[in-house]
């Protein structure tokens, strides 16, 4: 069996599962945020539930419109706050203690290897970086999951991706993922599991692995996953603050894959996804002359400390172009503090960038950096659909923090190595 099949089997009380099989799996965690909780709560009550299945295992994070962008957003986040209070949800995170959910949960030790987790957010697949099975669901499924602690799943087929060689300078997990999307398209792993392996993955830090699994949904996948190794265990030792037990699963040597792709990454250059799909990729040197009005460095995809360090490496001693608004959003309070202690905040402020409190804001066109008609952003986020960051006539290029920071300095898309 693959690692995904093993986790689903273990959570549904079976020795063995095969792709296509329907199983009911016990859940180790159920997550929702301020834009999905308000609908989930409405459904939860309508279905007759009055308490959550486990007060320690329901995670509510007000991150999307936080701090409240407007009255509707304030009303929606209040639903989550009131519900958390009423049901004594222990892990409820609000402004001040809040972070972007998919950076926050692993950091707080709320997701561990071998777990099965669902979230009312499509990027819940991020936790595969820890060797967990995690996937996004709509609010109705989340309501059922919060009430019962289990859900039905179709066991997915798995596509395996082996990245051979070492990543060259300025090539990150984001670039490998955009490269993969360019190769297989936004529906290339529809309904499937994506398993990442190979030398480049073994050498990649946890932040890069989170980025890759985070964007598995961009290929239509149910989950993205990486077998846990020493790097994973080191991360877990540091973050398992609740001392919860966990299980390490690995794919068997005779596991059956729908398809295996093997690529050499040692001569790749940074990859950019051009408007308006994440699979519309080009190498950064092939993008052409694109004037940029806004740069966003942050999100559940690329708002972790390694991402901020990469941005600072480019921005140090440089100035953000006069025509660019550069917005940097540390994904959690701890990342914010770490960046402050490392002196990254001074580098950003000296360069003329703005630093925001943690929020999903601009990534989904919510607030904190909306684009006007005709404007272009380079963003380290995950989607560049029509109107994703604001006006339907605006454009978003997806890239790594290196490429985004370089665009902030140059006012157009350039190779980060060209910043002098």
């Amino acid at each position: 069996m693959t690692i995904t099949e093993k986790i689903l089997a273990a959570h549904s009380g079976r020795d063995h599962v095969v792709p296509g099989e329907l199983v009911t799996a016990r859940l180790d965690g159920v997550l929702a945020n301020d834009v999905t909780t308000h609908i989930a709560v409405k459904e939860f009550r309508a279905m007759g539930f009055d308490k959550v299945f486990d007060k320690e295992r329901v995670y509510l994070v007000n991150d999307h419109f936080a701090p409240n962008a407007n009255i509707n957003a304030a009303t929606a986040s209040k639903v989550a706050r009131d519900f958390a209070c009423e049901c004594s949800v222990r892990h409820f995170y609000d402004v001040g203690r809040m972070g972007i959910e998919h950076a926050l949960l692993p950091e707080q030790g709320l997701v561990l290897p071998g777990e099965a987790v669902v979230g009312g957010d499509s990027h819940t697949c991020t936790y595969g970086a820890l060797g967990a099975f995690s996937t996004g669901m709509g609010s109705t499924d989340i309501a059922v999951a919060m009430g019962t602690g289990e859900l039905w799943f179709k066991v997915p087929k798995t596509r395996k991706f082996i990245f051979n060689g070492s990543c060259p300078r300025y090539v990150t997990g984001k670039d490998l993922m955009l490269y993969t999307l360019g190769k297989i398209s936004v529906s290339g792993a529809l309904y499937m599991s994506m398993e990442f392996a190979g030398q480049a993955i073994s050498e990649m830090d946890m932040d890069g692995r989170f980025t890759m699994c985070n964007m598995a949904i961009e290929a239509g996948a149910k989950n993205g996953i990486i077998e846990p190794d020493e790097m994973t265990l080191a991360y877990v030792r540091e973050h398992n603050r609740l001392n919860r037990p966990f299980t390490l699963y690995r794919s068997d040597p005779d596991a059956v894959y729908e398809r295996v792709d093997e690529w050499d990454v040692s001569s790749l250059e940074p990859v950019v996804a051009c408007p308006h799909l994440p699979d519309n990729t080009r190498f950064v040197s092939e993008v052409g002359d694109v004037p940029v009005h806004q740069v966003v460095i942050g999100s559940c995809t690329n708002g972790r400390i390694s991402d901020l360090r990469a941005a600072a490496e480019i921005l140090k001693g440089q100035q953000v172009d006069r025509n660019v608004r550069c917005i940097i959003i540390p994904a959690t309070g701890e990342i914010y503090r770490q960046a402050m202690h490392e002196g990254l905040m001074d580098i950003f402020l000296d360069a003329g960038a703005a630093i925001s409190t943690p929020t999903c804001g601009p990534c989904f066109g919510g607030h904190m950096g909306i684009l006007a008609n005709g404007e272009t952003a380079v963003s380290t986020t995950n989607r560049n659909f029509v109107g994703r960051m604001g006006h339907p006539g605006s454009s978003v290029y997806l890239a790594s923090p290196y490429v985004a920071a370089a665009a902030a300095v140059a006012g157009r898309i350039i190779h980060p190595g060209e910043v002098k």
Binding site: D34, V35, T36, H38, I39, K42, E43, A46, M47, G48, H64, F65, N70, N72, A73, T75, A76, G119, G120, D121, S122, T124, G136, M137, G138, S139, T140, D141, V144, V186, S187, L190, Y191, I217, G220, K222, L277, F364, G365, G366, R383, F385, V386, G387, R388, P392
Partner: protein, 161 residues
């Protein structure tokens, strides 16, 4: 019988319900802005019982249930596509909105055609062109959810029995 509203490949949930509306949960309010990202006139054009047709990977992107809630509340009786993104597919079934994978029908049916769907038999009839298309009918468990009008309605009616 319904009139067809046709879209292309990879219709994402951001164009169905843009991010700025995610604090809303009233189905009527979501219907009023449905498809704003690619077809702002849709809410004024759509009639009860109409059919939406898309290409491959319909409903990709965000898990927002706001998208199928808005489409259903706008009056759409079913969506036909070459394929669906998995979260959107699951959300639609949970809401009692039939989502039919029928690649040939999705490619050939045009905007403005009149279409009828026989859910039990698995047949889509295009009254405008006379063409018929088969699809695999839902298994009984899913059909019960669709007929009840969603998983919530089904759970509540099961509880009364």
């Amino acid at each position: 019988m319904g009139i067809v509203h046709k879209y292309g490949d990879n219709v994402d949930t951001d164009v169905i319900v843009p991010g700025k509306y995610l604090s809303l949960n009233d189905p009527k309010a979501l219907a009023n802005i449905c498809m704003e990202g690619i077809d702002p006139e849709f809410p004024r054009r759509v009639k009860e019982g109409d059919v939406m047709v898309g290409g491959a990977n319909f409903g990709c992107g965000s898990s927002r249930e706001h998208a199928p809630i808005g489409i259903k509340a706008a009056g759409i009786s079913c969506i036909i596509a070459e394929s669906f993104a998995r979260i959107f597919y699951r959300n639609s079934i949970n809401l009692g909105l039939p989502v039919l994978e029928a690649p040939e029908a999705a490619r050939e049916i045009s905007a403005g055609d009149e279409v009828t769907v026989d859910m039990a038999a698995g047949i889509i009839r295009n009254r405008t062109t006379g063409r018929e298309y088969a699809f695999v009918p839902f298994p009984p468990s899913i059909m019960q959810i669709i007929l009840a009008g969603g998983i919530k309605a089904k759970l509540l009616s099961d509880a009364k029995k």
